[in-house]
């Protein structure tokens, strides 16, 4: 073999390890799954939306609207009496429908007079993720079709004397949105999604940064102790194993939080340039802001999750043989953070299939990403159960790490366990 070939062969042998390929393979799988999910949006757009309709107008324009809705939507409830409003909403909630549309008595008359005909719309919002607002967009599309058809009819009726401003915008709307037991008057699902978009993107990203950064610090710290041969000395000093574990976790948490604050300052300015204008004001106007108690609860969730993450990283760190192997060990943490980050960005917990709900709840790093939205809609059960679960997870992790510190494994670097040996046999 030539000298060049010899070097290439050696380099390839060193580089082509599972550690090189595994991250890329898993990322490819994650992106593939996301592609499938996003592909499902097209199917959702094709499906007729489920709506309820109350029409108490007998004019020609309401007839146009009813025809459009009947032909292009799945009208699950129809009535000509406004007293049936609550019944219609109940049916919609039961059938996971999108909206109740009420065509008021003087709808057609107003349009004929050159005024706007008003739709009263009651939206049933299932979730506030990016993908959750797709169904309401389909209903918005139907209303646009109604508008176009009414415009065409007005042009036909007008014989060239049509008020173009009114003809192009024949209808208006009064909206109320029902979301997680809250009734939000004067706001549509897309506006709520806009208001919540700051959280649904910003908080998961911040949590991802904190956990990955602090986790890397802990794993690297353990790896460096081993690589620099300082761990053996530390373990023979009169200090409790639990103090060593706690010391490393607390220090990493402090540094991780400082790094996150620095990162957030830059990231905040960057992301704010993309935010929905007036989102903060809008949030306050619709009572979509966190109270002081809620903020404390978010802090508690973040704290217990960070401790859980660091304890988990510490456990991984005990397996690190050197600094290089530590870099590979951060990968499982990154994956466990990325999965809830993407899921919570695109879908609301409530609108997920049961299996995905279980996965999301089971990953302790999901909870700080889900807590703010849950608190906005008073879902305290979700937040408290999350805190309890993550705290138990953290305690179990810490207990395992302290146990590992008391065994030979921390010194010998052996990652095999007796039960595993039996299994191998």
């Amino acid at each position: 073999m030539s000298a060049l070939g010899n070097i290439i062969f050696k380099e390839l042998k060193e580089l082509m390890t599972p550690a090189t390929f595994l991250p890329i393979i898993i990322m490819a799988i994650v992106f593939g799954s996301m592609g499938n999910t996003i592909g499902g949006i097209e199917d959702e757009l094709q499906e007729p939306p489920t709506i309820a309709l109350i029409n108490i107008d007998n004019g020609e324009f309401s007839k146009i609207a009813v025809d459009v809705f009947n032909n292009t939507a799945n009208v699950t409830f129809y009535s000509q009496n406004t007293a049936d409003k609550q019944q219609a909403i109940n049916v919609l909630k039961e059938k996971e429908g999108q909206a109740l549309l009420i065509i008021n008595q003087n709808f057609s008359e107003n349009i004929e007079k050159g005024e706007t005909g008003v739709f009263e719309i009651y939206w049933i919002m299932q979730g506030a993720g990016i993908l959750d607002s797709i169904s309401s967009s389909v209903v918005e599309g139907l209303i646009n079709t109604v508008n176009t058809n009414i415009t065409m009819q007005l042009i036909q009726n007008g014989n060239g004397s049509v008020n173009t401003t009114n003809a192009l915008n024949p209808t208006g709307r009064n909206e109320t949105t029902y979301f997680k037991d809250k009734e939000l008057t004067g706001i549509s699902p897309s506006q709520i999604a806009n208001v919540l978009s700051q959280q649904s993107t910003f908080i998961p990203i911040i949590m991802m940064i904190i956990i990955i950064m602090a986790g890397q610090i802990v794993i690297s710290s353990m790896a460096l102790e081993k690589e620099n041969k300082t761990l053996e000395t530390l373990l023979t000093l009169p200090v409790k194993r639990s103090s060593i574990v706690a010391g490393k976790i607390i220090a990493a948490a402090i540094v991780g939080l400082i790094l996150a604050v620095i990162y957030m300052m830059g990231m905040g300015v960057y992301l704010s340039s993309f935010q929905f204008q007036g989102a903060a004001g809008g949030a306050a106007a619709f009572d979509l802001t966190l109270s002081g108690t809620d903020m404390i609860l978010v802090g508690v969730v973040v704290f217990v999750s960070l401790v859980a993450a660091l304890a988990f990283c510490m456990l991984l760190g005990t397996m690190a043989k050197n600094f290089k192997s530590a870099q590979t060990l951060t990968f499982p943490v990154a994956i466990l953070v990325l999965i809830p980050m993407f899921i919570t960005m695109f879908k609301d917990f409530d609108t997920l299939p049961l299996a995905l709900k279980a996965v999301l709840f089971g990953i302790p790093f999901s909870h700080p990403m889900m807590a703010p939205r849950a608190l906005l809609f008073d879902d305290y059960l979700m937040v408290f159960s999350g805190i309890i679960y993550v705290a138990i997870f953290a305690l179990i992790m810490i207990a395992i790490v302290v146990w590992v510190f008391k065994t030979d494994k921390i010194v010998t670097g052996s990652t095999s366990f007796k039960w595993m040996n039996r299994f191998k046999k």
């Binding site: 620099n228 300082t230 000395t233 000093l237 009169p238 409790k240 010998t412």
Partner: protein
Amino acid sequence: MVAVQVKDLVKYYGEVKAVKGIKFNIEKGEIFGLIGPNGAGKTTTLRILSTLLTLTSGNVKILGFDLEKKPEEVRKIISYLPEDAGAYKNLTGKAYLEFIANFFDPSEIKKFVTRGIEIADLGERINSKVETYSKGMKRRLLVGRALMTSPKLAILDEPTSGLDVVNAHEIRNIVKKTAEEGTTVLLSSHNMLEVEYMCDRIALINKGLIVEEGKPKDLMKKYKASNIEEVFTKVVKQ
């Protein structure tokens, strides 16, 4: 008075038997050497006595404390210097000694650090970062760290490993002086001449078993050898 009592000590690493039932005693203030080739079980024995590894079976008592039952008490009275030990690179030599001293009696921290600096004898370089130290300087710092607290038992694994003649000689003298001051020393070494010079008694260990034990002079006489190296060769060949 017996400072260290080792009875039928056995250590397995999975299927591998590293130590196969050794026993020895070390008297208080004695320098006891564990001599043997690579893989004989020296480091494993020292790691067990320093509470780093658990024993598979047998019994070890250090100044009356049962190693298995009271490891925390044992750690208060011992000091362990691993063969390839390191120090925190970002700390200065002095800061490293202070960091270690903080784990001991708070009222004696200053005294321990002063003694550590004295033993390390690095001059002004004690205030330099450890990452700038040569191998010899680092080893001197670590010996200073190991002996600054005047431990009841100092466990030194190859204390002069990788050092030049001058540095090795100075460290041997420091260890001898520490023993004279009352510290019991258990050390391991490949260097038979070093052992002959330093140790009051030695145990020859081979393939996890102690094959001979005694005072260097007595062993040389017994095997009609001119040095310990020769004794060891004869014992292993038997």
